[in-house]
Symmetry: D2
Subunit: 357 residues, 4 copies
């Protein structure tokens, strides 16, 4: 009788068809198949572990997810506190604001005469269209709001919280910005200058000299202090980009000043980029361990998939499997609408790191 290799322990369980399965049940079965199906199944489990533990859950989002129809999924995750802090590109917040203000994005084609679109002043994002005119109206609306603010630097976090509040009072509509405002979840936007939110800010300054100052270095200090205060963290990344790196950077920067910080305990990324070209978006979670961005024993998974497929599945599954976990977990309380954010009632500086020993 041949001795069995210890490598051969848990067999693949072929996926069998049951028409009545719900999302969480489908993902549970996917854990036992291979390749990215398995990764998606594991992602569900890793997120559940985050919710069961006492960690601060960061979520990063890059790529045109709001225009692409995922903004209410993100709003749901914020509202039900499946996450604690959002780091986003400006575009996702802008497209969210666009729809919260009652405008729409439109189903389009990916192969189309773009000169004809330009003539009709329609902006295309792969297979999705938007009206440039409506976009300009947003820019003016943001610019007008910016011109009402104090003539001092605002961290992106404070600015976006105020913007969300203004949007909520004006529209009473759900969305990412308004959900974050209402749930007191902070949003950071380190690359805000590279977006239409930034363009709105620049138009505010054009309107009223001295306005429109965003203190993105303050965001660095504050996000690191957030980790120093609650050194056990988790990272959920959709699409890579600046949010992915910013979340990791907060850990690395925090570790400088506080020995209690040891990298994310949990990490989950849904990306389409690959590691072998060296870019940060596609970098592996293993690589993140070399930097101390991720704890050596972290529960982690990378899903190589488009977020427009993976996230609706994953969030629907979590909504069924884990609402109680999300409700009952020990989570941080923020007040993000102040110059100095409060964490669990205590202000946190954006000017100096909180050194611990």
């Amino acid at each position: 009788m041949v001795k069995r290799s210890h490598f051969l322990k848990v067999p693949v369980e072929p996926f069998t068809i049951d028409p009545e399965l719900k999302a969480d049940e489908i993902l549970a079965k996917m854990e036992r198949i291979s390749f990215q199906g398995r990764s998606l199944g594991i992602a569900h489990r890793v997120w559940q572990k985050m919710l069961s533990d006492e960690v601060t859950i960061f979520m990063g989002m890059a790529g045109a997810l709001s225009a692409g129809g995922l903004r209410m999924v993100v709003a749901y995750l914020i509202e039900h506190r499946f996450i604690d802090c959002l780091v986003s590109t400006g575009a996702n917040l802008y497209h969210d604001l666009h729809e919260t203000r009652g405008r729409r994005h439109y189903l389009g084609a990916s192969h189309v005469n773009d000169a004809a679109l330009a003539e009709d002043r329609i902006d295309r994002v792969y297979d999705t269209y938007a009206s440039e005119e409506e976009f300009c109206d947003n820019d003016v609306w943001i610019g007008d709001f910016v011109a009402t603010l104090d003539q001092r630097p605002y961290t992106s976090r404070e600015f976006l919280s105020l913007l969300g509040g203004h949007l909520w009072r004006e529209t009473g509509q759900d969305g990412i910005l308004t959900a974050a405002y209402r749930a007191a979840v902070p949003i950071f936007c380190p690359a805000i200058a590279d977006s239409s939110i930034g363009m709105g800010l620049s138009q505010g300054r054009h309107k009223r000299p001295g306005s429109g100052h965003i203190d993105i270095i303050g965001d660095i200090v504050e996000s690191a202090n957030l980790v120093i205060r609650r050194p056990r963290t988790a990272s959920v990344v959709l699409g890579g980009g600046t949010p992915k790196n910013f979340i990791n950077q907060a850990s690395v920067q925090a570790e400088f000043f506080s020995p209690a910080v040891g990298g994310h305990k949990y990490a989950l990324q849904i990306v389409t980029d690959v590691p072998h070209f060296g870019g940060a978006s596609g970098s592996t979670l293993e690589e993140a361990q070399s930097w101390g961005k991720l704890a050596a024993d972290a529960a982690q998974v990378t899903v190589h998939a488009d977020a427009t497929i993976a996230l609706p599945m994953l969030a629907t599954a979590l909504a069924r499997s884990s609402c109680q976990l999300a409700r009952e977990r020990k989570r941080p309380a923020f007040d993000p609408g102040q110059p100095e954010m409060l964490i669990d009632g205590r202000p946190v500086s954006h000017d100096a790191f909180e050194e611990t020993t």
Copy 2:
């Protein structure tokens, strides 16, 4: 009042969370978002159209889908006649046979010491392991079966039907080969020489000189005749590779001899390759139109996703939305276990094309 561009018709409908949704309901909502989520939603609809129309549905499968846990999904699609004819790589049929014979594949890691695996004689497919010893046993089993056959060329279609029958009689277990045998669904394997099925055939010949002849040119003739007989076709492609091209080639070759053939009326592909490197696996369905592989007005969609995510979703959704359609549709009747296959009772040649005018 500004006149609305005709490009802006149907708005994106942000995906909203409902924990109780089933797969078909999730895909229905995905049709109204963007990017590959939308494509997956459309794939569900396109497949339903195939089932509603009187077309012969070809399915191609490449990539390690059987080892990766999708063989029972494919068996389900065959058994319930969501497809009429399978074109597969040899590896998928081999790994199916492996499990039907009671062996397993195993959950593994994608980053692992491969020299240690080699020492334990374990073969790795990304994150999945198998025992080389068990594989060798399959080869012998196939070789023994091959040695019992007549010393004449068999099309891959005839050979695989006989192999499926032998496997069914010996194991009584479900799987792709046995489901196809029992449902009388033909399987073509044009690149059978490039697989362990081919290795088993070669060992059969080694055992018994003169055996193990596969007439893959006969497969070309027969598959084209199949299209000539039933000129309205549909194509479902998982992963590209030789099956994708072989299905298209059948249309192109058939058109030579029959003016009624006009390319697939419906086409759906789930691929991870991209078009811009020029390979056939990643080629667009638009490109297929230039060749006449696809009708100019075909309902078609490409989903850029791993089949291990997309197919469980899609098949579960179809099982709920379309079982009746599959049951009631007008589909061809095959008898694939003969030297000359019967289509709707009439034999079809693998030596000469059926010319029509």
Copy 3:
């Protein structure tokens, strides 16, 4: 005699081997083959057209190109004015500074025990290593420099010009920052908060309260004014990311205020991302036309390749084919080291857009 289709005009010319060919000759031959080889050949020609015309050439760089060994190529392009303005991620400038200060990156492996690296405090970027200790020393060095600056907001452009000057005076070594300083080429870094340069700035502030303010909204205004001043532009993009969008945004924003702006006349991108997931990094240049980022009749090309392969080839070819073009072309003169940058001797505001009619 069959009439020839007008689609069949210029035949593919099979690449033939000549061992003595130089880079520009290889690329000239590649223009006559297919797929991405052809694209790379065309890229050489498009860049030559940029140099022959009177346009402001923006270059964006994202991905770990400096750590990956391309910083002296970029420095060469700056020094010889193959480009006029650089938009970069912070990481590329940081890794450049690291080497200009005499530290190195190291050849490593992409599959390695990252926990062992972490123990040795080595940071990994795919197949490349760096010492974390040396990185910390850079952060302190940047922080010390930041603490010497005035307590007012600096645009990233002004800050980076001053940083380059300081670096040059201290090291006298070539690199991206020092070459840009010496050639008076402005560098924008809209996502500076998402990088180790940003971390250095935050440490400067920690050291000296009130310092380390970067006015990235001022960068938006200024970059748009730069386009308004010289409305004919070209875009060279390496790797996508925030630089790609920021360059396009400058055109879009400028067009608001100046009817003379009509999108880039020339565009060349070397990217590894794909369009079908909807992200900006992989978006096509056709899509950019719908937004007015690119002129409808622009000469443009996308090369799907890793910049570490494509750029050494392309820059070596340009160095041979086009040095005279670069020397003799009409290019803007900048003075980027002032609070208000000078363009051709006249200051340009970062507080208000320059409206034209």
Copy 4:
């Protein structure tokens, strides 16, 4: 003084611009940068090692490389014996034959009205066009040749050698098939049924019943015997697909019958597929070690790049650096034009494996 980590040994050497560099010099410098540039540099070195050692060099080619302008590069590698045995898809041989017969492929566009192309009977391969009419003429030409052959099975190797001879006698033109014929280099085409070569064979059979039999199982036996005879092998793979697997399979199959076979000593692959979807095309060379396809201590490299960029560079570099190595190396002598191929003068069976002990 801090002890230096042993991980930090060889620094990245930034690529510097020298306009006069030739391909081999560019690749030598690329070895010292990162990511895929480094991989391409290493590929040059690995191929040189193959040429310096006494190994049988297999080359696999998949993807539309012939239509895409690389057929004369491959012909060069065959003629100068940089390789000993070619494994190809049928399409690459067909498109080669098309041009050797004096027809051309044409520069086209990747975004085009495919219905208009179809109307002009033009077949598109991404950005490359061909005349369907000329293709049909090839099919007839192949069919006519097939009808002249004996009515017995031919291995693809024998058939392609005879086809190359016929083509050479008729045209006297260079190309892959004719170069292989003249240099007596065998070509295997395991998936010949999935190509226009196969379509030509099927038309030969249609013309003359009983003709057009290809014994692809014989190819398996023979290719394994080839490895058994010369157990030290190397593998160069362009694009994955069936050729990649067939080359590896020959090693695996050979090892069954001969303990001297230990997997390829050298392996080099230029691919665009990625490993994480589980397909064989994108699988890593590490994974190949678990199967014994690759020796544990093999010199190996994967280049993630389009072959239309990488191969012209690599072959031009080899032509300069290694012509003498290729001329002087100990290489096998084949006679591939017989039913039983001769290796170094001794016939090799395609019916039974050559068992050794």
